[in-house]
Amino acid sequence: MVYLIARRLALGLLVAFTVMTLAFMLTRLSGDLAISIAGPAATQADVEIVRKAYGLDRPLYIQFFTWVGRAMIGDFGQSYFFKDSVANLIGRRLPITLTLGLVGLSLALIISIPLGILAALRENTWIDRGVTMFTMVGQAIPSFWFALILMIVLGLHFGVLPISGTGTWQHFVMPGIVLAFTAIPALTRLTRSGMIEAMASDYIRTARAKGLSRARIVLKHALRNAAIPVVSIAAVQLGFMLGGSIVIETVFALHGVGYLGWESIAKNDFPVVQAVVLVLAAIYIGLTLLADILNALLDPRLRTG
């Protein structure tokens, strides 16, 4: 178990370092950063001043290792636009994105696990087909468009929820629903296939033969086994949802990390862009690690690997 965690941790760190390299290269794609920071009205002398001030005159590899070294201790430099440290900016925005992610994931689990179980227990009926249809539709709806529809219906026609902003808990309801829908199809299908497999297994036949109640068989015996892939995918899905929340945060003007990323891209604020990419990747890496550990705890068979 310890060996498993240590190995996964080492892999995670290696991946994180690779992502750092890529994030650094990404922001150097646009050519001369000093020119874009200085702005269109700048003279050659201004550009040179900017280049010196931001350390862009030094060789690339020195810039890279300086950045990596500081990022290790949580110092991501200064934002060009917000005139604040990047760490502060992200620290202030991260709770909003995490709240949105957790609301979305909870909603997704509340909807998809019962649906998946229902479809599995009623396999081959119209209920099952209805659920499959629902997942197909959920997969095909563009999330930003779904967000706009919700705004029109819930925000305008019924007037029950605020259309955009960050102020209260109501501001998280619509974005949470939209985010949940990005994960519901996969989670529902996974629960369904896991339950079908579990219900057909020998230990369920044994449980039946023992005369256990149907509820006990389904909830205690079958679900525990069907839940193993669902738990790991749910953790990974949360990582994907946080990464994908950029679209939803932008539509709803929810000032989280994703919105910050979008703003900084539009303003060429590359220290922020680099840091947001890195933070989202780090969260994903952490969540996959967590998923593997959870899996090992849930399924003793995986503990030795």
Partner: protein, 289 residues
């Protein structure tokens, strides 16, 4: 390696599966025809503005004009003509992205699966790294920093969406690499490239076709999202995502301006997914992992 491939469960009766497949094919074929010849057949031009005829409603609403079946947008451009042109862009992006990402992913996956060992470790590491990169953010950043354009969007999405191709190519190659017909070819003196291209590839192609439909749907949705956020296909090109973005300011009074391109996008993606699902059922490859 845990990663969220939507696990597929085959539709329960083959009749339902075939019906879905047929509907999917019909949808995709119809949209492809519209994309190919729509703008040649329609008398309206998708780019010509007519500021006197702004935001005219479509035919099922009051105040519509016979010359504009689906109405006009905020600059008086014919919505049907723009929709047809948008189909071209969506399909083009979908197909080009699948070709690019397929090339990268299949190459990596087949090499890793066939050779195993160190090669496979490197491929797995590449897949893990790729999965930890937030796709939308990075795609936005690339387009934002390098300037928007159709080619750049395709290149960016192609470089980002190869992971599922690699995962499936790797897993299926591993399953068949020591089967009799591969060994027979090896004993007959076939070179490694021959083994990979003539023996392995044709036998995993059906699985890869299913992945291709999934990735195509994903690429189309991502392009629409990028264009919606203003960092995808540049105006005045009528990408469906861009049409939704442009209509957003008018959606509370004229909801159809976002309904028309949104429903089109939804139907196209649904059609592609139905084709993918149908293929998977027909090929009997219910477990892709």
């Amino acid at each position: 390696m845990s990663e969220p491939i939507a696990i597929h469960v085959p539709l329960t009766t083959s009749r339902v599966g075939v019906a879905g497949f047929t509907i999917g094919i019909a949808i995709v074929a119809f949209i492809a025809v519209v994309a190919l010849v729509g703008n040649q057949l329609l008398p309206q031009d998708p780019f010509i503005q007519d500021l006197g005829n702004r935001l005219k409603p479509p035919f099922w609403m009051e105040g519509s004009q016979p010359g504009h079946l689906l109405g006009t947008d905020q600059l008086g451009r014919d919505y049907l003509a723009r929709l047809a042109y948008g189909a071209r862009i969506s399909l083009l992006i979908g197909i080009m992205t699948v070709i690019t990402s397929g090339l990268i992913g299949i190459t990596l996956g087949v090499l890793g699966g066939f050779f195993g060992g160190r090669v496979d470790d490197a491929v797995l590491f590449a897949i893990t790294t790729r999965l930890s990169i937030p796709v939308v953010l990075v795609a936005l950043a690339v387009v934002g920093l390098m300037g928007s354009g159709l080619g750049l969007v395709v290149a960016t999405l192609g470089l980002l969406l190869w992971d599922r191709f690699a995962v499936v190519a790797r897993a299926t190659t591993m399953q068949i690499r020591s089967l009799d017909y591969v060994n027979a070819a090896r004993c007959a003196g076939a070179s490694t490239p021959h083994l990979l291209i003539r023996e392995i590839l044709p036998n995993i192609a059906s699985h890869l076709a299913v992945v291709a439909t999934l990735e195509m749907a994903l690429a189309i949705l991502l392009e629409a999202a990028l264009s919606f956020l203003g960092l995808g296909v540049p105006p005045p090109l009528p990408s469906w995502g861009l049409m939704i973005a442009e209509g957003k300011d008018y959606m509370f009074f004229s909801p159809w301006v976002i309904m028309v391109p949104g429903v089109s996008l939804f139907v196209l993606v649904l059609g592609i997914n139905l084709v993918g699902d149908g293929l998977r059922n027909l090929l009997g490859s219910e477990r892709l992992r």
